[in-house]
Amino acid sequence: MTTSKLRFDAVYKAYDRNLVLRGVSLDVQEHEVVCLIGGSGSGKSTLLRCANLLEEINAGQIYLNGESIIAPGVHADRIRQRIGLVFQSYNLFPHMSVLKNITFAQQIVLRRSRSEAERRAFELLERFGLSDKARAFPDHLSGGQQQRVAVVRAMALDPEVLLLDEITSALDPVMVGEVLNVIRELKTLGMTMILATHHMGFARHIADRIAFLEGGEIIEIGPPAQLFDAPHDPRTKEFLDRVLASE
């Protein structure tokens, strides 16, 4: 058996006495794209934040390439660089130009020279159709452009896994299209990704596997065709009926 790229083993997470993740286990293989679906508060975002070590888990294990990322002595900042995270609210740094947003962490975390960091930035900006925005400040970009810059910023650190936390939820339909194209492009590059998303159509199209979460548990996981067309669990079916009726 090959080791999985990212592996969650019975992960529990509570905020105070509120249990948000109830023993989530998930294996993600290299180059695989997994979509997390489920209602608000189902634990999708929390799972991604735990993998990026922005949250401390209460029990369980998380492995990257078979090595625990929460074991004592593990350098959390190094792990965060290897597991990129893109937020729903972009969180670009408003006091820095687009270029600086993308280069400054490279220079500090990866100790790249400025020219090296800029070369990497321009390479990615060009690929995602943003090279004319390099000198602009985030305030002057549309939401879709900001979110694409946020993806570029995360990708510039050459992460091994990219986590995308409902990155289209704050965008209007046209901009959603722009951002989804970026994700499509990342898939063709072979990027290992976990996406929390509300776009069922897109999830079906892009994902290798879909995981349905409810109440902090993975209720069901499987290839899109199976999960969407022939869900085993009545809770999955009920969720899909509700969501697809509104689409």
Partner: protein, 294 residues
Amino acid sequence: MNPDPVEAPRKLSEAEIEALLVRPSVWKRRDVQRSLLIATLSTVVLGALIAYVLSESTGWDAVRRSFLSWHHFQEAMPRVWDGFKLNIKIFLIAEPIVLVVGLLLALARLSRNPVLFPIRAFAVFFIDVFRGAPALLVILMLGFGVPGLRIEGLPREPVFWGTVAIILTSSAYTAETFRAGIESIHPGQRAAARSLGLSNVRAQLHVVLPQAIRNVIPPLLSGFVALQKETSLVSAIGPLEATRQAQIYAGTTFNFTSYLAAALLFAAVTVPLARLTDHLLVRSGKSRASGGAV
């Protein structure tokens, strides 16, 4: 003949649209001229009224002689100016130290690392004490108290201890300003910085602080104004700064125009600072809320 009731609303021609876009500025200019005229008139009328009432009232001559004597103004100004140079010197020395100490106190107070608990506790204590105590009290305590200890190696000059006292009280206020600035930055900014692999310190330094400091520049400038005025309190322990010089002059001549001279000197520094603050506030308000006519 009645107009056709179902006639479609006529669209404007290009020329009419052009006229529409030009006219507001003409209107505006006329508007501005009109309000300028009204403002000038009302000011002149009110000023004349006040002048008339003052000149008719019985005490006015006495007031003018005591507070507005040109002769005494000329006599007192050189001495007050001499003292004011000390105020400026205290301000220039104290302000940079206040900014650094204030920022360090704010960072100490916001630290969450348990190892730093004693530092955090100290910061809270320091801010409580020096924000709670009147500046004059601290000046008197340090200015008279510490030289009285006769400890070898400690400076004895009242100016030194007065400046230290001012630095302590102002730093406490400034720390709270910085703290408000840091807390105003959305937690997502820190999360984004950490998610890129930056350490806590790096995230603070490169992402949180630059934004926080920019947000609190207006209140910091207000603090500058307050500090410049507070330097006059040092007179309580002896140094011959502007207020003290004015007091001495008034004490020997029984004329109070010297105080006016001192007040004008302070205003010459603080009013431009206050205007700069207003200007920056307006600018930051504009950049934040773009759009909307009301």
